[in-house]
């Protein structure tokens, strides 16, 4: 076997000029809570601008159809309607959006509205702009669209056949293909004691259902030739890069702004096609503000869903102890009608290629196809959760098949604590972690031995009780260099975040961070960090949340995604605060006639101040700011560079991966979640019930344990909902069947088990503060609940082959099992024994 290259990742050093950690690590209440719970949040749809108009989309009722005719005349004639737009008209006003994918992907013409044909139910074909939302809604009903239905492509299998094409200009439905191969797969299979063959596995489509739907206001100012957006897009610098070439305006002419956002979970990243239409509508009306506030049905049908993935022909090689030595599998990702953020998902899963396990020989053939479903967007746990779910299914199926208990199976395969930092077969570096220790803590929390006894007794009574383990990694702070593995010409790499820390002219500490929080508590954690640097308290730090091209700090990577604020965001903020402290110290040393080394930062009788330890003389923040901004005659020349307005850019220590070998470090930190669920399937209703649930998380040093625990609860609810309830299902005609909450049934409190929560800290050696991002949680419960169901039903001959399981699907799985479904799904060979 070839020697594995270790990817070099520099260890981060904490800068010296910083106060002791007093606030970081404390479970303080969130600063933003007061505003939000009192209904004082400022959301896009709360904004009312003079002359503001409202846009309403006319959407396709078909999943796949030719557009024969669009007649907007009746709508245009309705009093109060200002203008209309059709796809054909929009085509003349813009260029298609850029595509990230190479080759065939470059041939897709993705316009912000459907032009010649519709490719998913909800695809916008026309829009009306009116003085009120009500008039817009009335007018939209008057638009007449004639369609000629085409057969819809609704599964990976159908798409692969290339018989019907979603985008004929591509010549295929296969949007991207690549083989990820590491180690010596064939040799490992030859030497295996057991080879387990697993049939088709399927990770279903689900979404995140943020409380606030997509919303935006666009103003295309004809005087300045600038486009101003107020939106809830969660990655505005990315959106601007797509909008600028499409709309034909310089990227510096696009101004982005966001403030409070009611949840996003990644899927608002791809709302930029609507941002384009709103800008065009504003231009057509002569520069009036145009607002779009999406309805829930629009959101469910046509915003973005999570990626669906199907796993074919999986082979697993194991040694005689059940240690997995090789995996060979073919994965097909379904990105819906347009790639947009894709095909990045075709590499992002590889951040967790071996999951939490030591397997060295891996070959995964990765395909992505387009289908007649809603385009996907990065959905919390994006692309990694599909891989983690796959690996967890593999572990469970192999364990059950070989008669090795599921906890033992994991302990034999987990990467060990003493192997950290661990380089994966594809060059990713797992920074730190103790998966076996987390599992032990989880077992203690849930009362593992006790449940094992209860389970055995219940089985004798004919009850179906299963205990499942889910091992999940939340890889955070991504290296955009991995895009080069998708498309060697992708003009971006690395990761950066910017922040500004300043002492405003009257001495107020103000931090702007450019992140786009949607509930993550950035204002609080940022204030904790700055408070520690300056020796003050978080309530004395004003944090400006949200993106603002003109007022806040940002880089081209700025946004809130990929579990990285605790690392990248706070590193930038910390760096800016340290710079500010240094400037304040220089200034104070002059003002107090002291030596910098004798200065201390803290809170005195006149508020926050800097004082001379020896003389006890001090100057407060107002005084310091005054010296620079108001009362500066006599300031020595060597202090003229002091601005008290300090910007810092954090660069994550990344290299561009080896694109030929698909090798390199794709993310900086790896938080982990080990969950355990006790699940019972009712023998009469077939309904799954969660009898007990434990979550153990390790995200390195925690900045605010209360926020971390909140994230764990939210992620757990999201994952249980996905595993048991939420499904973006389509019927065979391409109708999206879950376009309302009555059909989609997002999880509610009545569905939630009580959570047992445990926490461990394995500090990251790669972040200055030892923290790891943890916002996504990696859909831990999806793996865990499926594992519990598998344990409950294995003896009945059921293989859990889908990430979505309901009473209905379990009822049918048991029926299939009784007619020999198990044998088709799993087959075991013993190559070495046969010799």
């Amino acid at each position: 076997m070839a020697t594995t290259l270790r990817t070099k990742t520099k260890k981060a050093k904490a800068p010296a000029a910083s106060g002791p950690a007093k606030w970081v690590g404390q479970p303080i209440r969130r600063k933003e809570e007061d505003r939000l719970v009192r209904g004082k949040g400022i959301f896009v749809d709360d904004q009312k601008l003079t002359g503001m108009l409202h846009i309403r989309f006319v959407r396709s009722s078909y999943g796949h159809a030719k557009i024969v005719k669009v007649d907007v005349s009746k709508a245009a004639a309705l009093p109060g309607v200002v203008c209309t737009l059709t796809g054909a008209e929009v085509k003349g006003m813009v260029k298609p959006f850029i595509e990230i994918g190479p080759d065939v992907g470059q041939k897709i013409a993705d316009y912000p509205m459907a032009v010649d044909k519709v490719t998913f139910q909800g695809d916008p074909v026309a829009a009306v702009v009116a003085e009120t939302r009500m008039i817009a809604e009335d007018a939209a009903e008057l638009v007449e669209v004639e369609y000629e239905p085409l057969p819809p492509i609704l599964s990976a299998e159908e798409a692969l056949k290339d018989e019907t094409l979603v985008h004929p200009e591509m010549g295929t439905n296969r949007n991207w293909h690549g083989v990820f191969e590491y180690g010596n797969v064939e040799k490992a299979f030859k030497q295996a004691a057991h080879v387990v063959h697993i049939g088709r596995l399927h990770f279903h489509r689900f979404s995140s259902t943020p409380l606030e739907n997509n919303a935006m206001i666009a103003v295309w100012d004809s005087r300045s030739e600038r486009i101003e957006y107020w939106s809830n897009n969660s990655f505005p610098s990315f959106a601007a890069q797509f909008l600028s070439p499409a709309l034909g305006v310089g990227i510096d002419q696009i101004l982005m702004k966001s403030f409070d956002i009611g949840g996003g979970f990644g899927i608002k990243i791809t709302n930029y096609p609507y941002m384009a239409v709103c800008a065009l509508a504003s231009r057509k009306t002569g520069g009036l503000p145009v607002k779009w506030a999406e309805t829930r049905t629009e959101h469910m049908q046509a915003s973005a869903h999570g990626n669906e993935r199907t796993f074919f022909g999986t082979r697993v090689a194991l040694d005689k102890n059940g240690v997995i030595t090789a995996i060979d599998s073919r994965h097909v990702d379904d990105c819906g009608a347009y790639p947009r953020y894709e095909p990045l998902g075709c590499v992002i899963w590889a951040q967790v290629l071996p999951a939490a396990y030591r397997v060295k020989n891996v070959r995964i053939d990765m395909n992505q196809v387009v289908t007649n479903k809603c385009p996907v967007g990065p959905n919390r746990g994006y692309s990694r959760m599909q891989q983690l779910w796959f690996m967890e299914r593999v572990l469970d199926i192999c364990g059950h098949t070989l008669g090795i208990s599921i906890d033992e199976m994991r302990l034999r395969n987990y990467i060990r604590k003493d192997e950290m930092p661990y380089t994966t077969p594809n060059g990713c570096v797992y920074d730190s972690g103790d998966y076996a220790g987390m599992l032990a803590l989880g077992k203690k929390l849930i009362g593992w031995d006790d449940w094992k006894k209860k389970q055995a007794a219940a089985r004798k009574d004919g009850r179906w009780i299963g205990i499942g383990i889910g091992s999940t990694l939340d890889s955070g702070t991504n290296n955009f260099g991995q895009a080069r593995i998708i498309n060697n010409f992708a003009p971006f790499s690395g990761q950066s975040k910017a922040a500004i820390a300043k002492l405003d002219i009257y001495g107020e500490v103000v931090v702007s961070m450019g992140s786009v929080p949607q509930g993550q508590g950035h204002e609080t954690t940022a204030a904790q960090v700055v408070a520690d640097v300056l020796g003050i308290s978080p309530d004395l730090v004003r944090v400006k949340p949200g993106f603002d091209t003109e007022q806040n700090a940002y880089t081209g990577h700025t946004g809130t995604y990929a579990s990285q604020f605790a690392v990248a965001g706070l590193s930038a903020i910390h760096g800016a605060a340290v710079k500010l402290r240094k400037e304040m110290a220089r200034l104070a040393a002059w003002a107090l006639k002291a030596k910098e080394k004798d200065l201390e930062f803290g809170i005195g009788a006149q508020g926050p101040e800097v004082r001379d330890k020896r003389t006890k003389k001090s100057i407060n923040y107002w005084g310091l700011a005054n010296l620079v901004n108001v009362n500066n005659a006599g300031m020595p020349e060597n202090l003229w560079d002091v601005t008290l307005n300090c910007r810092h850019v954090y660069h994550a220590p990344f290299q561009i991966p080896d694109t030929k070998r698909k090798y390199g470090n794709l993310t900086l930190t790896y938080a982990a979640q080990i969950h355990i669920a006790v699940v019972e399937v009712d023998r009469e209703t077939f309904q799954p019930k969660i009898l007990a649930y434990a979550c153990v998380d390790d995200c390195g040093r925690t900045i605010n344990p209360r926020i971390v625990e909140g994230q764990v609860h939210g992620c757990t609810a999201h994952g249980i909902g996905a595993a048991l309830m939420e499904n973006c299902a389509y019927d065979s005609d391409g109708n999206m069947l879950a376009s309302t909450f009555s059909d989609y049934t997002p999880i509610t409190a009545v569905n939630m088990p009580d959570l047992l929560y445990g926490h461990m800290e394995s500090p990251s050696p790669f972040s200055y503060n030892g923290a790891k991002g943890m916002g996504e949680g990696g859909a831990a419960p999806v793996h865990t609940v499926c594992a519990g169901l598998q344990d409950a039903l294995y003896s009945s001959g059921v293989i859990i082959d889908d990430s979505h399981n309901t009473g209905d699907s379990i009822f049918h799985a048991l029926q299939r099992a009784s007619s020999g479904g198990f044998a088709i799904m799993v087959r075991v060979e013993h190559p070495r024994a046969s010799r």
Binding site: R133, M134, E137, D138, E141, T295, R296, T297, D682, E684, T685, F686, Q687, P688, K689, I690, I720, L724, M725, A729, L737, A738, T740, F741, S742, D743, T745, P746, I747, T748, A749, V750, N751, M752, P753, T806, G807, D808, F811, H812
Partner: protein
């Protein structure tokens, strides 16, 4: 999410409401709790030209229990019924009321509105069909009393004339040795049940079933009285065997359709399971035991 334009009228009495319905024509609708109508209007699936609001008619939300009867005003809210003495005396009413949708819907939604809407997935229709229930209606021709069996004709269709309104729902108290249960399986709180089953039965001292009604919800155009299932119990000792036979007969009686809530064959399996459990609970309650029952949800 804006309703089609409509005019709004506030009635001070049911007589006035009836008159307004006549005047405003076929496209006018009565607004009671609005928990079905308003969402339908916002989604533009319902487009009434006029709404006649009866929420300001005095005395229409009263719950009374005169001799041997329970009287629910048409506007009695689910939440009020849930905590009423009537529901404490007749547990099946509590099972039903306490689990309808979520707290907001229960605070606003009404028993009269629910019956008049005649949604095949509604909770009250199935529950009240197990009891002797009549609907007091009022219209230009005066008052009439209609047995609930006659009142609901089809999915979303009752015998009410356009200008006729529900005034009161009258339920006869079941005898002392009677017990009932309403079980509904829902995926999450705010949605309609996948399947529901209501059972009310009366036992003699030796567990012989003297009287029984079994009604299935969500598995047909209206709530379905499972008469063959009833026959499996009537006059017989209620034990594991007869309960199983009744559950199987109920499975046959169901006429479910496949949808996002579940496939038709799964719903039949669920009917059998819920009927079996509802009979079990009804029997224990008939014997005087206190048993918690009602709505069940995915996950727990």
């Amino acid at each position: 999410m804006y309703a089609y334009p409509f005019s709004y009228h506030r009635a001070k009495s049911l007589a006035e409401a009836s008159k307004l319905l006549q005047q405003l024509g076929d496209e006018s609708r009565v607004l009671a709790g609005g928990q079905s109508l308003i969402p339908l209007m916002k989604m533009r699936l319902a487009r009434p030209s006029a709404l006649i609001d009866i929420n300001f008619v005095p005395g229409l939300a009263d719950i009374q229990s005169p001799n041997g009867e329970l009287r629910f005003g048409a506007l009695a809210r689910h939440a009020d019924i849930e905590v009423s003495e009537a529901a404490a005396a007749i547990p099946i009413l509590n099972d039903c009321a306490a689990g309808i949708a979520d707290v907001q819907v229960r605070n606003q939604g009404t028993i009269g509105g629910s019956l008049a809407e005649a949604d095949p997935s509604g909770d009250w229709g199935a529950t009240l069909l197990t009891l002797e229930t009549s609907v007091q209606c009022t219209g230009p021709q005066g008052e009439r009393s209609i047995a609930l069996e006659e009142f609901i004709k089809d999915a979303y269709t009752t015998v009410l004339a356009h200008d006729e309104l529900v005034r009161e729902i009258i339920v006869k108290r079941p005898p002392k040795s009677s017990g009932g249960a309403y079980l509904a399986f829902k995926r999450s709180a705010p949605v309609y049940a996948t399947v529901s089953a209501a059972v009310q039965l009366t036992l003699d001292g030796k567990d012989i079933c003297k009287d029984v009604r079994i009604v299935l919800g969500c598995v047909g155009l209206t709530a379905i009285r499972a008469k063959q299932a009833e026959a499996e119990l009537h006059g017989k000792k209620v034990d594991g065997k007869t309960i199983q036979r009744a559950a199987e007969a109920a499975r046959e009686a169901a006429e479910p359709q496949s949808d996002m809530r579940g496939s038709a064959d799964y719903k039949r399996a669920l009917v059998a399971a819920l009927v079996k459990r509802a009979i079990g609970t009804a029997v224990r309650r008939a014997r005087g035991e206190r048993v918690e029952a009602g709505h069940e949800y995915v996950g727990r």
